[in-house]
Amino acid sequence: MAKPKVAFYWCASCGGCEEAVVDLNEDLLKVADAVDIVLWPVALDFKKKDVEALRDGEIAVSFINGAVRLEEQEKMVKLLRGKSGLVVAFGSCAHMGGIPGLGNFWTRDTIFQRVYKEVPSVENPEGIVPQEKTGIGIGELTLPEFYDTVKTLDQTIPVDYYLPGCPPPPDLIMNAVNAILTGKLPEKGAVLAPEKALCDTCPRAERKPEKLSIKEIKRPYEVKLDPEKCFLEQGVICLGPATRSGCGETCIRANMPCRGCFGPVDGIVDQGAKGLSMIASILGLEGEDKMTEEDVKKLINGLVDPAGTFYRFSLPASLLTRRRME
């Protein structure tokens, strides 16, 4: 029987998801044996023509990582959707927009202005910025269009499953691959990771106090981080309660608070809003009645960059989507 065809593709990506696949180590060789990899731009003969030549649905599954930021990426994922039976949004960027999604606080022009004109090391008196078409006398050079707004994969094409994480950890990747190969997949639209929030598996959960209350918000460099205590108990913002588990709490074990890369659990439409609401619910609970206006203001001002903190990985997927363009 013919091996199932598998494709890997990357959009506005950093390559970490590709590295995550390589981190399967020996297991990767087993996977490569069991499937027929037909597309992997970084590794194989990637041509749009080859993908176009395939029949619709001939690719069993396409794993697509990276957010959609350029015209070229949009075209390619639409092509792959047509040729694939299943599409899996691989990694935080494809799932929710990821870190590149922070670009949605700005526009193409403001980004170009900074990168090509304003940075102190650039010498660009003519104010040159990259162009979609550049004539060079002997011919023409083209670049793909850079959009104003970063989109998630499912805002561009229908997506069947999501593998969350920045990047998805090796065990979740193997589980997903095995599920696909054996046909034991959950209902479409599922996130292929555990269903509960991070606190469920956090090594610090047992020692949490009965009632959490943040007296004063502390930024991670303002205190010596206690490696045993819940971060929220220490006053350090941790998005664990608002984030799906499955990562193995790798950041927490390195004694750093969670920043939400796995996205929310099912049923939450906006991770950022939930994160904000969750923190707001436990601010200043102890001695609340004795707090003056000043005290309240001071407490809340301790929360710096709420938008960038709560929407660190999920801005394009959120209800906000992006900052309003002037």
């Binding site: 588990s245 659990v265 939450i268 619910s281």
Partner: protein, 188 residues
């Protein structure tokens, strides 16, 4: 209990009920009510859920329809906007009436509209911290800490539902879908 549409059986009425309510909270002399419905006309919750009707509940209390009043899920939805008591020509502090009814209902085991899906609970404890009535506690089950609702203490305020980062606390009639449709309706 007299159900909707049925004639009221006087034998089933508890004429002490109104006094019981007044005894809890002197400000709500519910017997002063003459059913003008000014309260209902101003109630924003009534706009969305007509069964949350201050005038109707006041009448039930005054008639002594104890069980019917206490078992109604709609006694839990007062938003504390105080429009009813500001406008009442008889100075009935109706917001306090809701509080008293909720209090009695909770103590007598009528279920508040809040439920926690313990199977999906991650034990984060945010709800425990945010509940103003200390009605949620973390109980250990199979080595995991899970949130558990103490219904006798719950007043159905819904703060837990808003705060829960896993969306596993249901506050009946205040689910996301319902809220979204309430937002969409006036702006459509």
């Amino acid at each position: 209990m007299t159900m909707r549409g049925q004639p009221i059986r006087v034998s089933e009425l508890d004429t002490d009920f109104k006094r019981e309510v007044i005894a809890r909270e002197a400000d709500c002399d519910i017997t002063a009510c003459f059913s003008c419905a000014t309260c209902t006309a101003g109630c924003p919750i009534y706009e969305v859920y007509p069964q949350h009707d201050p005038r109707k509940i006041a009448r039930m209390v005054n008639l002594g329809m104890r069980e019917r009043a206490l078992s109604s899920p709609y006694i839990w939805y007062c938003s504390d906007c105080w429009i009813c008591e500001q406008r009442c020509p008889q100075n009935v502090k109706f917001s306090s009436v809701w509080d008293v009814l909720k209090d009695i209902a909770a103590k007598e085991g009528y279920p508040p509209p809040v439920s926690i899906n313990e199977d999906m609970c991650s034990g984060c404890g945010i709800c425990v911290a945010s509940c103003p009535y200390a009605a949620i506690e973390l109980r250990i089950q199979n080595g995991k800490r899970l949130a558990h609702l103490v219904t006798a203490l719950c007043r159905g305020c819904g703060v837990c539902g808003a705060a829960c980062p896993s969306a596993i606390i249901s506050v009946n009639l205040f689910e996301d879908e319902q809220l979204f449709s309430q937002i969409e309706a006036p702006v459509a």
